[in-house]
């Protein structure tokens, strides 16, 4: 096996740059969540653009302000949020589209600017990032503190051997997120007043500023419980679950959600709407529709 080669140096990390792959499912019974890329579709697309496997590790960027310098020739791709992507070569600046694989030569700097749409971008490097795996995954879990630490300026990213696979796509369509998110009734929908699921679907929900990879807090009409004081013994949580604390405002579980919680889950965001949660910015309005009605 070839040793991983140093391909990129982090010049600027932006608000939060994390190594992520598709996570470490299978450890919830000992209190470790799956974690992994928040927008799995964008992550997988970036990997395919560089001819990689979707299970390979890349970088998940929150917002903009991220830059890397190439230490060796490499092929990269950036997907996810829409925004400026700039390559600097010998001081000359060229604007790139986030649509396909890009060749970087030694010294080239790639800058990911603040998104105009969406929130999280995904950087893939041909050969896949090689970072210390913990329990079978290179993902950083922000709640459990497991996996490679958030990237900082000066950090060097290593990639594995590229293999013989060539990109299966060289031009990616931009995903335009619109319309309501698909919702399934949750295991404790019956803990809420009649018509609560309908109320969830009628309401306009604003993504709160205290939203992160652990969960998205939604501001909107409070959801009323049938028996307000009733205690729920701690119950497992899943990605996309809408857990409702006593204030009645749902929290949607993100990739780094706790493995269990003591509040009832009224509904679950359907798998095919999941990735859109990753791109919801604080202040964005979300609406829901029951999956069978879509």
């Amino acid at each position: 096996m070839t040793a991983p080669r140093e391909v990129l140096e982090v010049v600027a990390a932006g608000p939060l740059a994390l190594v992520e792959d598709l996570g470490r499912p299978g450890w919830a019974a000992v209190g470790v969540g799956a974690s992994g890329a928040f927008d799995r579709g964008a992550h997988a697309l970036a990997q395919r653009l560089v001819g990689g496997d979707e299970h390979a590790a890349g970088v998940e960027l929150l917002g903009g302000g991220f830059a890397v310098r190439a230490l060796a020739p490499c092929v990269v791709a950036v997907t996810g949020a829409e925004g400026p992507l700039v390559r600097e070569r010998y001081g000359a600046v060229s604007e790139e589209a986030r649509r396909g694989p890009m060749q970087l030569d030694v010294g080239d700097v790639l800058r990911v600017g603040a998104p105009v749409r969406g929130l999280r971008s995904y950087l893939a490097v041909r050969g896949g990032l090689r970072h210390g795996q913990v329990l079978g995954s290179a993902s950083f879990d922000t709640l459990a503190g497991l996996g490679p630490a958030p990237l900082r300026p000066g950090d060097v990213l290593r990639a594995g051997a590229a293999g013989t696979a060539y990109p299966v796509v060289d031009h990616a369509p931009v995903r335009r997120d619109q319309g309501p998110l698909a919702l399934l009734a949750g295991p404790r929908a019956d803990w809420f007043a009649d018509g609560t699921l309908e109320a969830l679907c009628r309401g306009q929900w604003t993504v709160s500023v205290d939203s992160d990879r652990v969960g998205l807090r939604l501001d909107g009409p409070a959801l009323a419980r049938r028996e307000p004081g009733r205690e729920l013994p701690s119950e497992p949580l899943v990605r996309g679950a809408l857990q409702v604390p006593p204030d009645g405002r749902p929290v949607v579980m993100g990739p780094d959600h706790p493995t269990s919680g003591g509040y009832p889950v009224v509904a679950v965001v359907a798998d095919n709407s999941w990735d859109r949660l990753a791109q919801a910015r604080p202040g964005d309005r979300l609406s829901f529709a029951l999956a069978h009605a879509l």
């Binding site: 499912p25 299978g26 450890w27 919830a28 019974a29 000992v30 209190g31 470790v32 913990v134 329990l135 459990a144 497991l146 399934l184 009734a185 949750g186 295991p187 013994p233 701690s234 119950e235 497992p236 899943v238 990605r239 996309g240 679950a241 706790p258 493995t259 269990s260 889950v265 679950v268 965001v269 359907a270 798998d271």
Partner: protein, 200 residues
């Protein structure tokens, strides 16, 4: 008949009296399409593959029975120094002497019901009913690793430093979570546990 509830696209939630025991049954012979089994306080989460036959799985989970803890399996013995910051408060809340709190905490036989809150944090069932106390009204920002604690009907050991709202009665030098071990968690669902006085 167990109540089985749908939980999103990929999971079912089963209400059972003995979640760790049911998890043991499902792990010993996983039904077709089952990817992960996660016990909690009164339920078991069963994660299934996208194409799994959900109706068949629902029918099977409605009938699943627990596998009792293997009484012959080794107990994990945890040596505790009973010097926790809340030990006197717990004694006062329970209307017991400190010595009685310590004696009762050691006399009980515990089983890990489930893990949660943090990697390797095990909820231990079996606490003496006389030691049931509410959580702190204001959780601590920092609870040291190895803290032995009680809250509600549970006892637990904090695997590493974290915030926490349980009442601290002592501490142990045992390593609860070690990524260098094949099974990083010392205490996994179903593990039997006993606390003894740390004589060192």
């Amino acid at each position: 008949m167990n109540e089985v509830r749908r939980y999103g696209d990929h999971a079912l939630l089963v209400e059972v009296a003995d979640p760790a025991g049911v998890a043991r049954t499902l792990r010993a012979a996983p039904p077709a399409g089952v990817l992960e089994v996660v016990p909690a306080a009164a339920t078991v989460l069963v994660v299934h593959a996208p194409g799994a036959d959900v109706r068949r799985l629902e029918a099977l989970l409605a009938e699943v029975c627990p596998t009792p803890t293997d009484e012959a399996a080794a107990e994990v013995v945890i040596a505790v120094r009973y010097d926790g910051d809340d030990l006197h408060d717990v004694a006062a809340l329970c209307d017991l002497s400190v010595q009685d709190v310590v004696r009762r905490h050691q006399a009980a036989a515990y089983t890990v019901a489930f893990c949660g809150f943090a990697p390797g944090f095990a909820y231990l069932r079996g606490l003496d009913p006389a030691l049931v106390v509410p959580r702190l009204v204001t959780p601590r920002v920092r609870v040291p690793a190895g803290s032995v604690a009680v809250a509600d009907t549970w006892s637990a050991v904090y695997p590493r430093e974290s915030p926490g709202g349980w009442r601290l009665i002592g501490h142990t030098d045992a390593t609860l979570w070690d990524l260098g071990r094949p099974s990083p968690a010392l205490l996994a669902p179903g593990t039997r546990v006993r606390f003894v006085q740390d004589a060192s």
